[in-house]
Structures are given as structure tokens and as C-alpha cells.
Amino acid sequence: MKEKLVLVGNGMAGARLLEEVLALAPDRYAVTVIGEEPHGNYNRILLSQVLSGEKRFDETLLNDESWYAQHGATLLAGRKAVALNRGRRQVIASDGSIIDYDRLVLATGARSIELPLPGSHLRNVLTFRNIAEVEAMLQVARPGRKAVVIGGGLLGLEAAWGLSHRGMSVTVIHLMDRLMERQLDAPAAALLKRSLEERGLSVLVDTESQALVGQTKVEGVRLRDGRVLPADLVVMAVGIRPNIELAQQSGIQCERGILVNDSMQTFDPRIYAVGECVQHDGHVYGLVAPLFKQAKVCANHLAGAGFARYQDSVLATKLKITGIDLYSAGNVTGGEGYEELVLEDPKRGVYKKLVIRDNKLAGALLYGETENESWYYDLMRDGSDITELRSNLLFGRGHGGDAGHSGHMAVAAMSDDTEVCGCNGVTKGQIVQAIAEKGLFTVEEVRLHTKASASCGSCTGKVEQILGFTLGGDYSAAPKEKPLCTCTDHSHAEVRRAIREQHLTSLAETMSFLEWKTPDGCPKCRPALNFYLIATWPGEAKDDPLARAHNERVHANIQQDGTYSVVPRCWGGLTNATELKVVAGIAERYGVPVKITGGQRLAIPFIKKEDLPKVWGELAEHGMTSGFAYGKAVRSVKSCVGKGLCRFGTQDSLGLGIRMEKTFWGAWTAHKFKMGVSGCPRNCAESTIKDFGAVGVDSGWEIHVGGTCGVRVRPTDLLTKVKTDDEVIEYAAAFLQLYRDEGYYMERSSAWIERAGLPHVKHRIVECDNSRKDLATRFFTAQATAQVDPWVERGTKGDQRMEYEMLEIADMAA
């Protein structure tokens, strides 16, 4: 027969415990749940949003009554456990029923403290703990009516915000000299007070209430100084008190809460306790994150699934008031032996304070700018030594370590063990894994499978970003991708697949196989198809110049007046006297200037089309070749002088830059592909805005990918670090090949990475050695036939002459 497990208290901790037990040991227990509230279980945290009208009650339900039935648990809702008979192992409920147990869990939570003020029995004097009280508040809350909230802590402020959102005029009175004194210091509390006042709330600090006045209903609050604040509703939010009576009466040891050991057992080993009713190691808790951890430990124990211990948690709080970003964790007021780092920017309404002890982060208080909260939380939780990070610590993760990243890539930069959902202890890695393995697409699905963002919801934005970045473009895009152009119903991806799977090697073949609706396609699909063909079947598919965009067909950029620019390669940005003389000679002969380009090379503008082959021929004679400045192809490799020239250089960036340009030139890509190599993190070659960048560090190279600096600026993502030049070449080849395999035509590597997702790219290039080597090998195989210089062919062998010569009619009267 199954053992009998009885749970008293169907709140957030109790219900979580049940879920965990059922997941670990679905068949072990016959479960009975006794809950005083007459529902399944709901997300108490969201009562603030129900009060403000941002959520309906049914949206807060976590498990409805049918869930209990489905899982074989008996729910006795609307009944209170009034006594325990530990000798007989029985729970006695308020309706007289007696329930036997083998194991019992007490999860009775806490209740709000009611101030013993004269008049506190009056109608419309409420606390803020459960849905019944929220419904009672909503009965009274009407625009124009007045509410007084006693208590300026987290709950009081959320109540005040909710009521004011419903149109009431609200006054908060707070005994202490600053709001949320346990989570805030004086400057942050002052900022918060100001923001609340800007939102129309009155806030009185240093103010004590003396009595509630009124006949049957409350009419006002009398203050210690004699003033009376008129009120149609009074909400007391002055703290909570653990519900320990049931335990106490049956002789279970209690102090402020029910005493438990590290595996959440009370002094009676058959009886466990979790949640706000518990006191562990001297602490009682009032936030869900530690309670959920307790539930997990307890469930582990009950399921016999190995040994888990509950240990004190770092507590973090976020205020859930729309438009106010406030985060507080750990010790934020410092004291003897603590140091403080503070950043104050009153104009932007930003205040940040980090409290440090023994080179470890002990507390973080963030107001106005909270992006880096999870980073700080991790540093605290892990007790990391912050000595190295100290100078940048206040500015957030983006500013330490990796060269030149800004905060907006915070999600990409998070390590896998970073906790995203503080309430449920879900890490980024778990979310990414669930998305990948279970094929999740929406925040709701992630919530369902991982519990991330299922409680207070303040990490919903981050979960969304993780979804976006893991799924890439798939996340926001409709399930079916758009057709490539109006000539076809097929998307880029489908066309590529057909070319690969059907071994299509020409435009005509592809269009006929995919039933193109137009005879030749159009200027949108022709170049795309040509690229897909030559990228998929290098050396086999024949390049079709007539399917190329004009500049690529002509191998020069047409300019405003119809003349062309000539931009030869300048390997790694290094030139010499001979090359300069050749360029100077051409400029002199054609009477044109020389432009130094943004890509570290020399451009000769204003060359007439018919002169191009001659100019190219002259360049070729001196070993100068096409810079592909016109192509969706590998462009210049911008390099700084590096080690050997620069006193800061840690690596030979110029040498590697030249080697890379010589290795990679000639490769066609989905869009232009620019590279950069910098000798040290000062990054003079701007490698962190290139499609592929290498930044020298003492131990080798940081590899950066997916940067762009054109129409849109996007800094790179750090891909990995490597030790040798050879490795950089291998990674670059693999990256180029993957981009060539997957990038859509006219999609920069930055856009492709955002669509495909950085984790995917990392997986293929960093984590899986075989995949990287395979990609690099394929790249070099294709490269073996790719490095044919188009200018040499046209300039010295007279290829494609028809393109550069004009037809001529000399005599009209012929």
C-alpha cells in the first residue's frame, strides 16, 4: 500500500513541494492536501497585479482543482487543519474530518500583522495577503475615493500603486524615516519616494498612525500629531507573522517559526515544514525564492531521491511597480568592515550601490538601471573574488573582460549557470536547454517547462530575450518564412535545401525544378540563386555573371557619373613604395585623385569602364590584385601594427592580418564579409565591429564574430579564445563556411547570427571540434579553386571583353 502524505497549506511553498514530489516519485504516496483557501493554488505574488488591474485572478492560478485530481491527489479546499494527533498520526480538519498520515508537511505560510489600533475592527480595514482581501479592496476602490496604506515596505507600496492605478487617491504612511528600509539606503529610498510622488501618490515618512476613526466603516486615520487623513479604505501592510499555531499546539518546537533542520524536518521526524511558517538557522523568509528551494530539498527527502540540504539563500527583491526599476539584494547598508561603491546620476534617475566585504560582493542596490542584477546576484551567491572586476564593477558586466561590449548583449553574455529566474532558481542554461530539446517557442511554453518567469514575472523580459537569442529569427518570425521574392513561393531556406538535396547546379535547373513563375527570375532572386549555387557546389556550379548585381558583374563599383572606382588589395593595410608608385602612376596618367578608404586601402576613382582592363592590367603587372570592394565577398582585413611595432602589442596582428587576407580572399559570401585583427584590447583595428575579428591578448587571441558598422551598428559576440594564429585561421574558415552554408543572400553575418542564434554558432564552431574541422576543411576545399583573380583575367588575358567594350556607330547615314 502507498504511504500517506498529507500537506497542510495549499499556498506557494506547499503546492511547489507537491509538484516536486510528484515529479520525483509519482507513485510513492497517496496524497491529501488540506487548504484553507477555497481554490486550487494561485500565484500570490501576482495579487499586486490583480489589484492594479494588470492581471485577472484566473491568470494567477497555478494548479486548478482538476490538476490535483489528474495527479491522484485529494484536495480538501476551504478546510482548515485545526489540530494534530501526532501519536495517532492524524490531522483533524475544521469540518471534523480526520486524515491519517505517514508523513506530514506543514506549509501554513504566514499572515499579515494587524496593528492593534483603536478602530481596527471597522469595515474596509484590510490587510493584503490573499485574493479574498483583494476582492474586498476592489469593492471599495473607485476613482476619487481615498485610501491610506499603513506601511511603506514592498507590500504596502504595491498595494498603494494598485489602488492608485484603480483611480483612488492614495497616501502611504510609514513609521521609519525612509521607505523599504530593509532593502534600501537613504538615497535610493529618496529616489523611490520621488518617483512615487511623481506618479501621484502621497508619501508620509516618519509618521505614526494612532487610531482609525469611523462609525461602522472606516472614515479616516488619525496620526500621532493629531491630523486626520480621510479614508474610505485602509490597508495595513506592516509585516507578516508565521502561522505556527497548529505546530505549537501539538508540541512541535517553534520559535518565531517552526524550527527545521537542513532537510526541512521538524523535531518530529515524520513532520516536515516549508515556506514562510518555517525558521531555519535563525532565519524566517518572506520571499518565494528561498521557499522554493526549501520545497525542493524537502521533496528530495520525501522522494528518497538522495540527499539535499537547504542552505541560507542570498535574498533579492524587486519592486513590481510598472516603470520603477528597483533591485535590492544582500546587505545594502554596509557597516563596519564593508566598503561601498556608489554611482549616482540624479538626472537619469539612476543610483547604484555595491557593498563589498573582503573583496567579495555582499550587497547590490540598483535603482533605475537593473540590467546587471543577475550578474551581481551570481557574484554574491558564488562568493566570487571581485578584485579584478573592481574598476568596472559598477558599470556592469559589459565593461569588464571582453573587449568593447555594451550592456544590451547582456543575455548573450550571461554564463549558463546565471540564474535568470530568481524565484524559481532557473538558470540560463536550463532555459536554453529546454528551448532546444523540447522545441519551445513562446514564453508561456518556457514557463510551463522550466517555471522560469512563472512566479513574480519580473524576469519575463529576460526569458523573452533568451528565447529570441536561442531561436534567433525563428522566435518572432511567423512559422512559415517569407518567399524569396515574387517569382516564387519558396523561402530562402527552401531554395537552399532544394539546391543541396536535388544537386541543382544552374539557375535554369533550379528555377525549373522549383517551378519559378517567371522565365528569368528578377534582380532579387537571380543573384541569390547564383550565390546559393556557387556556395553549395563550389567548382561545380558555374558562376553566371549575368545573374550578378552590376558591381559584381563588372568587378568595380559604378560611381555617380558612370565611371568606376578601382580598389586593389592592400594586404592587412600594409603597402610599400613600389605599390604606391604604381597607383601614383595610374592616377597621374588618368588625371584622377587617390582616395584612402575606410577599409585601409587606396582607391582610384573616376576610371571609365573601357579603361578598367588597362588599369587592372597595369596593376596586375606589379602583383596588385582586386580588392573585391564591389563584392559580397571577403573584403579587407583591417589590421593594426601590433607587436613588433606598437609598444602595447601582445600579438603580431599585422602578420596575422596579412596571412588572413591572403588565405581568405576570393571567397564569395552571402553579404560582404569584413575582418579585423587587433594586437591588444585597445583594439585599434576595430575588430569588434567586424564580421570576424581577432583581438590579441597575452595568452593568444579573442575571437569575435557578427559585428557590423553600416546601416546598423552591432558589436560582435565573443565566440571564444584561442592560443595560436593557426587556430584563428581555422576558426575563421569554419565561421566563414557556416555563414556561407546558412546565411541568406544579403544577410550580414550579424543578422544571420541573430536569426540562427549564437548558441548554435558556438556549438558548431567552438563546442564541437569535429564540426569545426569539417567546416574548415570544406572551406579550404572550395577555396582551392576560388582564388582566381578577376582583374588579372580581364586585364591581362582579355576575358569578358564584351563587357568592357562598347558597340559603336560612327556614321549615321550608313
Binding site: T518, P519, D520, G521, C522, P523, R526, L546, A549, H550, N551, V554, I558, G562, M802, E803, M806, L807, E808, I809, A810, M812, A813, A814
Partner: protein
């Protein structure tokens, strides 16, 4: 434009034109763009894009259209008119192909454009 005033001039061989593609023909009357479609039809337009004067002969030919290489205006090869929603029109010239040779009909009077 009436054919009687036309002066037919041999512009070159059909095979001197890329398929599908265009080529510039220099005449004393100004540059003309000659086009050959993939169905071997040949058209001639003034080599001046109605948008900002770009050389139409350098554009990409597809179906019965050319796209200007400068800023992407699409023109109908037969009429010289821009494809809606774009507006504008390039002067078009009559063309005939005989025995693999391309002839273009030029009038001594200034040629007009179809939408003028």
C-alpha cells in the same frame, strides 16, 4: 513616330549582345542601350535612366524588363516606361533582327519618349 522618316542602321551582331543582358551603343545622337532578352527579343532605349540619368545598358535584364544599376528603377523594355509604382520613361527605338544582325531605326528628327 512614323517609319517613313527612319534611318535603319546596323548596330552589330545578335551574338554581340549578352543574353539576357544589355550593351551600350555609342552613336553621334547619344548613347543607346541595346538589350537582348532570354527569348532573343532585342530592344533599344536611350541609355539614360529617367530617374537620375544612370546608364540603363549596365542594368540587369530579366523577362521583358531592365533594372537600372544605379538605384533599382525597373523599366519595360518594349515601351521604355517605368514599371508601376515607379514613374518615368526612357526614349525607345525600333529594332529589327535580320540574319543575325541587329538593326536600329533612328530618326533624323529628335526621337520622343512613349509617355511624352
Amino acid at each position: 513616330m512614323s517609319t517613313t522618316e527612319l534611318n535603319w542602321i546596323e548596330a552589330g551582331g545578335l551574338d554581340d549582345l549578352p543574353k539576357p543582358g544589355g550593351r551600350k551603343l555609342r552613336t553621334p545622337q547619344g548613347d543607346i542601350a541595346l538589350f537582348r532578352t532570354s527569348a532573343d527579343e532585342v530592344y533599344a532605349l536611350a541609355d539614360k535612366c529617367p530617374h537620375r540619368g544612370g546608364p540603363l545598358s549596365q542594368g540587369m535584364v530579366y523577362g521583358q524588363r531592365v533594372q537600372c544599376c544605379m538605384h533599382g528603377l525597373n523599366l519595360d523594355l518594349a515601351s521604355g516606361k517605368a514599371v508601376a509604382p515607379d514613374q518615368g520613361c526612357a526614349t525607345s527605338y525600333p529594332v529589327k533582327v535580320e540574319g543575325g544582325r541587329v538593326w536600329i531605326g533612328l530618326s533624323l528628327a529628335a526621337a520622343g519618349c512613349a509617355c511624352a
